[in-house]
Symmetry: D2
Subunit: 265 residues, 4 copies
Amino acid sequence: MNILFVGDIFGSAGRRIVTEHLPHVLETHTVDLLIVNGENAAGGFGITPALAEDIFDMGAHVITTGNHFWDKKEILEYVASVPSYSHDRARRIIRPANFSPATPGFGVYEGTLPDGQTYAVINLQGRVFMQQNDDPFRKADTLLRDIKAKVIFVDFHAEATSEKVAMGWYLDGRVTAILGTHTHIPTADERILPGGTAYQTDVGMSGPYDSVIGVQTELVLNRFLTGAPGKFEAAKGNPKMCATLIRCDGATGRANGIQRIMLGE
Amino acid sequence: MNILFVGDIFGSAGRRIVTEHLPHVLETHTVDLLIVNGENAAGGFGITPALAEDIFDMGAHVITTGNHFWDKKEILEYVASVPSYSHDRARRIIRPANFSPATPGFGVYEGTLPDGQTYAVINLQGRVFMQQNDDPFRKADTLLRDIKAKVIFVDFHAEATSEKVAMGWYLDGRVTAILGTHTHIPTADERILPGGTAYQTDVGMSGPYDSVIGVQTELVLNRFLTGAPGKFEAAKGNPKMCATLIRCDGATGRANGIQRIMLGE
Amino acid sequence: MNILFVGDIFGSAGRRIVTEHLPHVLETHTVDLLIVNGENAAGGFGITPALAEDIFDMGAHVITTGNHFWDKKEILEYVASVPSYSHDRARRIIRPANFSPATPGFGVYEGTLPDGQTYAVINLQGRVFMQQNDDPFRKADTLLRDIKAKVIFVDFHAEATSEKVAMGWYLDGRVTAILGTHTHIPTADERILPGGTAYQTDVGMSGPYDSVIGVQTELVLNRFLTGAPGKFEAAKGNPKMCATLIRCDGATGRANGIQRIMLGE
Amino acid sequence: MNILFVGDIFGSAGRRIVTEHLPHVLETHTVDLLIVNGENAAGGFGITPALAEDIFDMGAHVITTGNHFWDKKEILEYVASVPSYSHDRARRIIRPANFSPATPGFGVYEGTLPDGQTYAVINLQGRVFMQQNDDPFRKADTLLRDIKAKVIFVDFHAEATSEKVAMGWYLDGRVTAILGTHTHIPTADERILPGGTAYQTDVGMSGPYDSVIGVQTELVLNRFLTGAPGKFEAAKGNPKMCATLIRCDGATGRANGIQRIMLGE
Ligand SMILES: [Fe+2]
Ligand SMILES: [Fe+2]
Ligand SMILES: [Fe+2]
Ligand SMILES: [Fe+2]
Ligand SMILES: [Fe+2]
Ligand SMILES: [Fe+2]
Ligand SMILES: [Fe+2]
Ligand SMILES: [Fe+2]
């Protein structure tokens, strides 16, 4: 079984490059399950229901998010519009499970592929150098206790390499794959951990790499140089789709392959 | 001209794997200039004069450091034992240039290779999610004003991808290479920026990868799970040497090649 | 009913000034319930069982702590040596309730005074600019659901004024008093909130005020000026006992008076 | 000579209570020099030229700011409209001196009172738990080298009590007074340090105290409870003017008295 995970789609440049490459990647690698982090789809800040629909139209089974989940008000209503047992698209956009329980939406989704294969997707967020949230380690324990599926994918949206690597070891042998997002730069440490879990510290964004992690370089440099707060706008140049392909045994949920993908114009 | 930069050597496992691979890498790639980040050489925490000597014995021209510069008191005396104009080994260990001016040692070194080629090595530290220090962007401007060499290498020891990528663009066309360190995980974004500067967000550590960025996994997990402070010890398992090779034109200082290297047992 | 709360006892100077003043304050104000924050009793860093015994000998009913709870290993064993239902001294040292559940000890204590008056003491820690812990707001809700006593005292050990003030409003009408600790500087905003809860952002430390919040001034200034990490030692000069007196109705738990106390040599 | 410093004016409630009390306080205490922190005058977020004019109309000689200096674009143009040697009102609004040199405006103002008494006002910002800026300790050294006036007032806009207290000791004997702002809660630690410098960790805001440091309580609690970002609006209830009065010798610049003032409706 093949799982493709696409890193944070950033703005229109990110959407365009993913639209261009996704069809042939899905076909070439006979992808069974497609998961996409969409937290930056809307000009870098959040995701709208319409953009989510576009991503689902491309074949995504589940969309994950992160700290930018909150940026577009409409998405909060969208994810809150369906009950936990729903399989509608609105239910298949998830947000970090360790956000406050008062947060709209859900942090895990369990689904079934057309061939009957069950799977679960978990979204968690780190706490080191990030907003205060519930403990992602204990939250993972709680969620895993209830999940029936053997194939379990975790998008760990976190800043610090230490927290991400630690979570990898913590979940090794308990999930199929745990891949990091949020830093928007792909790491070259993809591997299968001894327990059979595929791991990578960060998948990297799918967006414009002639930028500062998606944002126009001049705007970010201005902030670093002057301290002046200023509006951040999505860049356009040099878009790349960053994704990671996981091969696993659907019956046991153990990963047996992980491959980093970076595709540009 | 070929420059090899070895990422943070972490503990005895890191020293061992570098000792094993460095000779053949230096020969295979006809390396002219060898720079090594040694901030974690002493059990993960700092570097001693004796360990620095070992690294110089392996052929290093310059040793860079970072936030762990302070960990071993002896090194502070060692770097303070030589004047700015010295070319002794003690002068060729540098620390982030944007530390307080009251800090022992120097943040930049200018040297000459046997063939007469001049070069400079700058060490800077980021501020995002790190200790308070002087502005690394303005500090870079100040240092570059005084440097005579065309070939200039920058080790930017920083946590946040945003600050590292921003510095890359800021220095593009002004230095030969700026490579990141500190997160201990190699990134897969090495490239030559449009102005001719080689860039990579993080080179990754040269140390035990069956660990949490060098430290024994159980110790780090215990801290994440319980909040209890506890001593961190260097791990040993699965050592890898992470390094990056830069090819550049010695006359202009422009980079024309960058290659990521990761070598294990 | 009168409750006296003594702010973080810092080192030997703090212990001495409290020893000097506590007897006459207890008598003058006919204090019924004495609560003491002891997290800095041992040279500024933690508390030992022996020092806790001394504080209990002075008449303390309950000792609260904070982020320095971890500093002395012996105290962890001491608080873990008794079951939840115990009323031993070891049970009456509490630590922030929103620490990880894996933490030794307890975060709340319910007791009965000789006259039959029941009371509860809760210790919570903030998260803004502090270590990652469970949400103190939700934790307070959980704890309050189980507490039988009408008189409830909360030591909120936190850094940011925003979080402390917010917690004051959150608990107004639900607890007798919520007083802040940790910043080591007393605030002049003591008041009875509209719902009948006594509130003060910080009680201030009981320790040497010719210092930087307890630590020798030169050591702290050296760190600010040079960035060099160095051992912090407790100062001695100008000790003051900072405490706050709460008057309340034992039957309803509503506060009707709050008075700041600062006593020096 | 008497100096009155008014803590951060917060929104319309703050402006109203200051307008009500300032005239009688100025008269009662025969204030010679009036300094006002105005960083939150405009609905809690920044200050406009029109609001600055109102504060100058009330008799302020100098207006200081802090991290909210950036919030209203108009003020940036206003302070940039005058040269360093000007004494216009636009020159008498200052911002933290240790902001990047690229920041509009100035961080220190030197003036002369009608009776010929010279004075200087310095604005500095802390770095602990705040934005990255230049070292405020070294910046203070640099500024003091150039100041001619004997009477020197410092508004240290900072979060951490440790940094504020440390700066107090650092400047003791070198300035007339250093008072803290930014936490919006007055501290009860006002004193004359041994070298003759008046010190207080925080003057407290002049604004609505039925709030979370100025902002409507419900909005802040919602953020703490849900993590949801949401617009912050200034509260109105229970306004108080917080100010501190310094008595000093104009000839030597030494302080000989400090008095905390808190006036409500
Ligand atoms: Fe993202
Ligand atoms: Fe993110
Ligand atoms: Fe390192
Ligand atoms: Fe480091
Ligand atoms: Fe304390
Ligand atoms: Fe504390
Ligand atoms: Fe303010
Ligand atoms: Fe402020």
